[in-house]
Assembly symmetry: C2
Homo-oligomer: 302 residues x 2
C-alpha cells in the first residue's frame, strides 16, 4: 500500500492531518524523568526515550504519526541512536506511523548506505522490521542519485520520503530565494522533487514528498500546483510562529496531501501547567488538531 | 591553534596534502576480517572498525588525516555509530587528524544538537575528547544558522568544518548549476561559505572550509579566488575519475589551503593483489600522495 494512502487512512482514523514532532532535550524533561547521572550517555539517552514514549502514549489516537528528530538523539552518539530506534519501535507498537527526521543527503554511492541504515536493505533482519520508520526526511541538494536509493526502497515497501523544498527557518531564505523573481531556487527544487517521484507514482500520490513551510498563501498555492501529486510535510507551526490559516494552501481542496507538524508547542505544553504532564501534552495535541481541522472545514472526530 | 594551521603542520610531517577516506562495505573487506555471523549488527560493525583500524595503520605517516564517512557505519545503526567513534579514537591514537564525513544540515535549533553530538558540548566528558573529530563536513543549504553552532565550537576548539559548495557527483549539477551563466548556485554557496567564516578568521585561514570538487581549471580558479581564506576538501580523485592535474587549481600558489581525498582507490587497492593487504593499501596511498605532490612541484618527503 502506498505511503500517502496509509497516511491518509491513519489521518482519518486519528481525526486530523497532524504530526507531533519528538525533539527532546534533557533540560526540558519532566523532573521525574531526569537521569540520575547526567554524565552517563546511556542514562541520558534512556531518559529521552522514556519521555518520547510518554509523548507517544499521550498523542495516540489524536495524531496519526510522530516525527522523531534523530539530531536530538545523536547528541548521545551510539546510546542515543539506540534510543531513537527504540522509540521508532514504541510508536509502531502504539499504532502510530513514524517519520524519521534525518535530513540525510549525500552522493549516490553513500546515499545507498544511508538508505540501508534507515530503511533496511540486506540488514533488515538485523534491524528488525518494527524499527524501520515509515518515512524519512531527506536533503536533495546533491541531486537525484542522493535520494534514489531511498525512493526505490520506499516505493517497494509502502514507505515515503520528504525532501526539503522550502524550509521554515527564515535564515534558509538566503539560499532558497536565490535566482530571479518567478524562478527561485526553491521552485527549482520543487520541480525536481515532483519529477523524481514520477516513475513510482502510478495514478495516485507520489512516494516522494516534500518539506514545505507555509509562508504567504500565493507562493504556497503556486508550489502546490507545481507538485500536484507530492505529499507535503509542513513544518513551522506553533513554536516557530506558523498559523493554521497559512497552512490551508498546503492542502488540496478536499483537505488531502499534507500533514502539519508541531513539536515544542505540543511536547512541552506541560511546562507551565500543574498536574499530569501527559494530560497537558494530550490537550495541546487536541488543540493543535482542532486548529488545523478548523481551517480545513473539518469537524472534530470526523 | 587554528584547524587549518594544524592540518598544514600535519601535512608537512606526513609529506603530502592528502586524505584517505574510510568508506567500508562488508562485501569488499579482506576475507579474514569478515564477520562470522553476517546477521549480527555488532559483528558487522566490529568488522568495519577492524578494517578501518587496518587502514589507519597502513596510511600512518603518509596521510595527515583520514575522512571517515558515517553513512557506512549507520548501516548498522547504534552498533555502527559506536564503531565509527571507536575509529575516530583509533585514528587519534595513531596521530592522524580525523574529518568526520557527516554532511549534516538542519535549521538552527536542530543544528545545535547535531553540533553537540559530533563536536561535544556539555556532553564532551560523556563522549571523551579522543572521540571528537577534528573537522566535519556539513550541508549549508538551510543557511547560516544551520552551520553556526558547529562553526562557533570549531573556532573555540581549533576544529574545522567543510561545507558543501561543489559536489563531485555530476548528478548534483542539476542543482548546483542552477541560475545564470556567471552566477550559478554553487557560486552563491561559495560566497556564503566565505562570509560565514569571516568573524572567526583573524589573519589566517578560516575555520569554515568548503567541499569543492576539481572540475575545469578555470572554474576552480574562480572559486579559489572567491574563497581566498577557505580551506578546501577536494573529493572525486581516483575511483570517481578526478585527476591530480585537475586538483592543481584547488591549491594556493605555494601549495596550501586544500587536501585531496581518495577513498576506494586506496582502501581497496589490495583487491586484485596477492600478499599483505595493508602493504597494498600503503603503496596505493604513497602513489596517491606522489601524484598530488607531483602537480604541486613538491618532492617526496619534503
Amino acid at each position: 500500500m502506498n505511503y500517502c494512502d496509509r497516511l491518509h487512512a491513519a489521518m482519518d482514523a486519528a481525526g486530523g492531518p497532524i504530526v507531533v514532532g519528538i525533539d527532546p532535550v534533557l533540560e526540558r524533561l519532566p523532573a521525574d524523568l531526569q537521569p540520575a547521572n547526567p554524565q552517563s550517555g546511556d542514562q541520558c539517552a534512556a531518559a529521552l526515550a522514556a519521555f518520547g514514549r510518554g509523548i507517544i502514549e499521550a498523542v495516540r489516537g489524536i495524531a496519526p504519526a510522530v516525527k522523531i528528530n534523530i539530531a536530538f538523539f545523536e547528541v548521545f552518539q551510539a546510546a542515543g541512536v539506540a534510543a531513537f530506534y527504540d522509540l521508532v519501535e514504541s510508536a509502531h507498537e502504539n499504532g502510530l506511523l513514524v517519520i524519521a527526521d534525518i535530513k540525510r543527503g549525500d552522493i549516490g554511492s553513500t546515499a545507498s548506505l544511508y538508505a540501508r541504515g534507515h530503511f533496511g536493505g540486506a540488514e533488515l533482519n538485523t534491524h528488525g522490521a518494527a524499527r524501520i520508520p515509515d518515512a524519512v526526511t531527506l536533503a536533495g541538494y546533491l541531486g537525484r542519485s542522493a535520494v534514489q536509493p531511498f525512493v526505490d526502497m520506499a516505493a517497494e515497501t509502502g514507505r515515503g520520503v520528504y525532501i526539503l523544498v522550502r524550509p521554515s527557518d527564515p535564515e534558509a531564505d538566503l539560499v532558497h530565494e536565490f535566482g530571479q523573481e518567478g524562478r527561485r531556487f526553491y521552485q527549482h527544487m520543487a520541480d525536481l522533487v515532483s519529477a523524481w517521484g514520477g516513475a513510482h507514482r502510478g495514478t495516485g500520490w507520489s512516494p516522494v514528498g516534500a518539506v514545505v513551510a507555509a509562508k504567504d498563501a500565493a507562493s504556497t498555492a503556486a508550489l502546490r500546483a507545481a507538485m500536484p501529486h507530492t505529499p507535503w510535510l509542513v513544518p513551522g507551526y506553533g513554536a516557530q510562529g506558523g498559523t493554521a490559516d497559512a497552512c490551508r494552501a498546503c492542502f488540496t481542496a478536499d483537505g488531502r496531501g499534507a500533514v502539519v507538524n508541531a513539536s515544542r508547542s505540543v511536547i512541552y505544553a506541560f511546562a507551565d501547567q500543574p498536574g499530569d504532564w501527559q494530560a497537558s501534552v494530550r490537550a495541546a495535541a487536541e488543540r493543535f488538531s482542532q486548529d488545523i481541522r478548523g481551517v480545513l472545514g473539518q469537524q472534530a472526530g470526523r
